[in-house]
Amino acid sequence: MPARTKARAPSAEDADMEDAAPTSAQQVAEDGEPMEEDEDNEVGEEEEAEEPQRVRILPGSTSTAASFEFLKEGHTLGNALRFIIMKNPDVEFCAYAIPHPSEEKMNLRIQTYDTTTATAALEKGLQDLEDLCDVVSEEFWTQREKFMAEKS
């Protein structure tokens, strides 16, 4: 297929999607509108503000079936997160995709049973992954110390 040189006129379907697009934090930030309105909580807020918002919920999502878009993430987090979310018994389906290799985007689809929401499942997944890292690093270092002590 030849490369398209002219911008395609937005079809009705595309326009629809655009209308339905959520006003996510990312887009607000792009529009230059201030994200944080309360500037009283300075110390904590300012450190948070340094990290740009890298996750948003995609249009067409419902509370129990949602797609999330992560910026600047890839297979490293995608597959690990998919695994740990699939381990959640309240989750019916979870999968990740990198829609195009030259875009630094990773999409994550979560469908849950009525017992939880997709966002809650994602939060739990991130928390579980953090806990897992702690267990791995603790055990790794204990065994390293043991190994080095035996060697000397």
């Binding site: 934090a25 695994f83 939060e123 890292c133 055990e139």
Partner: protein, 380 residues
């Protein structure tokens, strides 16, 4: 996939089968993780951190400064792979990024020379590299080229050498190293020039230096000259391989060799030759074994039998499966949850530190994203 086992708990043998990838004569089977909820009747398989803590094991095989080998047992491939990928691409190191060529009359072109220099691994005081040095930001279009260059994000290096004839060289000498001074330029000829506060962090033992001083950079002949300055910045492996802190970081699954029926005598020796040295051992059949009926050893007391000595050394070739005399007697496989990691550092980090750092990085990724998910605008 194996059908669920009804209402009874799975037997030890069934659990063992589940976590084994079968290496068959022409195919592989049971390759996919199946330890998820709802996959087996009456089995939980939900994430349980305490259960994971109990089951997870680390075994060290080697731990040197630049090379480590260890096993992670009881993790899923997706987790092991995340650690591997982080070690390769997401742990920052310092490398030569900009080369200022004042003069280069050697036969190596400027851009090739710059590329070679970039790939040289450097090291220095760890505390300084981790805590003092930060990331360099490219100046904006309106800014001065050095507006963002500070002692906290740039390391300056110099390399200046001119090749000259040695006056006292013997008349019949042919070797350029005997005939000329500076015929070969090595990594050790690069000089570190401390800027600002860097002297405090990178002096004496801790000076910024090439990990291997003997890396050949260029060869010259009399009157050729190299005079360059270099700026090093911190970067990530995902940007350029020169920033990768590892030469290799890889894992393989633990091989599993099961001898199902006795392999005896000359067959045993042939069987051992099918594997890497040290994988299969030869032992004599004991009196006790020979006495046991149905063991297959009856009447073979004192004969040689093949035993699995060290499956980890195996490369899992399928040679043993090609011979009809071993048919049905051996089963090859790999343990799905036993990852033998091999991490080879380029020198800026110690190899065991690298794995620790990868666990920290993955945790940090999650820690940064979790509040963002919580605060995310929810629209349906």
């Amino acid at each position: 996939m194996a059908p669920s086992s009804g209402r009874r708990a799975p037997s030890a043998a069934e659990l063992e089968d589940r976590k084994t990838v079968n290496i068959n004569k022409e195919t592989v089977s049971n390759t996919v993780s199946d330890d998820y909820p709802d996959n087996f009747v009456n089995e939980e398989h939900a994430w349980d951190n305490e259960e994971f803590r109990r089951a997870f094991q680390v075994q060290f095989h080697q731990n040197d400064q630049f090379e480590a080998q260890f096993s992670l047992i009881g993790v899923d491939a997706s987790i092991a792979n995340a650690f591997r990928r982080i070690m390769i691409a997401e742990i920052p190191t310092l490398a030569i990024e900009t080369v200022f060529v004042n003069n280069n009359t050697s036969v190596i072109q400027d851009e090739v020379l710059a590329h070679r220099l970039g790939l040289i691994p450097f090291t220095g005081g760890k505390k300084g590299l981790r805590e003092f040095m930060g990331f360099w930001r490219k100046p904006g279009p309106d800014e001065d080229a050095y507006a963002t260059t500070y002692d906290t994000n740039t390391v300056s290096l110099k390399l200046a050498a001119k090749c000259t004839r040695k006056k006292d060289a013997p008349k019949d000498a042919r070797d350029p190293l005997v005939l000329y001074d500076n015929a070969h330029i090595y990594a050790r000829d690069i000089v570190f020039e401390p800027l600002g506060g860097q002297a405090k962090w990178f002096s004496g033992e801790d000076t910024i230096r090439p990990v291997n001083p003997d890396i050949l950079i260029a060869k010259m002949r009399p009157n050729q000259e190299i005079d360059i300055e270099m700026h090093m910045h911190k970067g990530f492996g995902w940007d350029h391989a020169k920033y990768s802190p590892v030469a290799t970081a890889s894992y393989r699954l633990m091989p599993k060799i099961s001898i199902l029926r006795p392999i005896l005598g000359a067959d045993a020796e042939k069987f051992a030759a099918c594997f890497m040295p040290g994988v299969i051992g030869l032992e004599r059949v004991t009196k006790q074994e020979a006495k046991k009926t149905g063991s297959g050893y009856e009447g073979h007391e004192g004969e040689l039998k093949a035993v699995v000595k060290d499956a980890m050394r195996d490369t899992v070739s399928r040679e043993a499966l090609r011979h009809p005399e071993f048919e049905g007697k051996v089963k090859l496989g790999r343990r799905k949850d036993h990852f033998i990691f091999s991490v080879e550092s380029t020198g800026q980090w110690d190899s065991d530190e690298l794995f620790m750092e990868s666990t920290k990085m993955l945790k940090k990724k999650c820690g940064v994203l979790r509040p963002q998910v919580t605060n995310m605008v929810q629209t349906f």
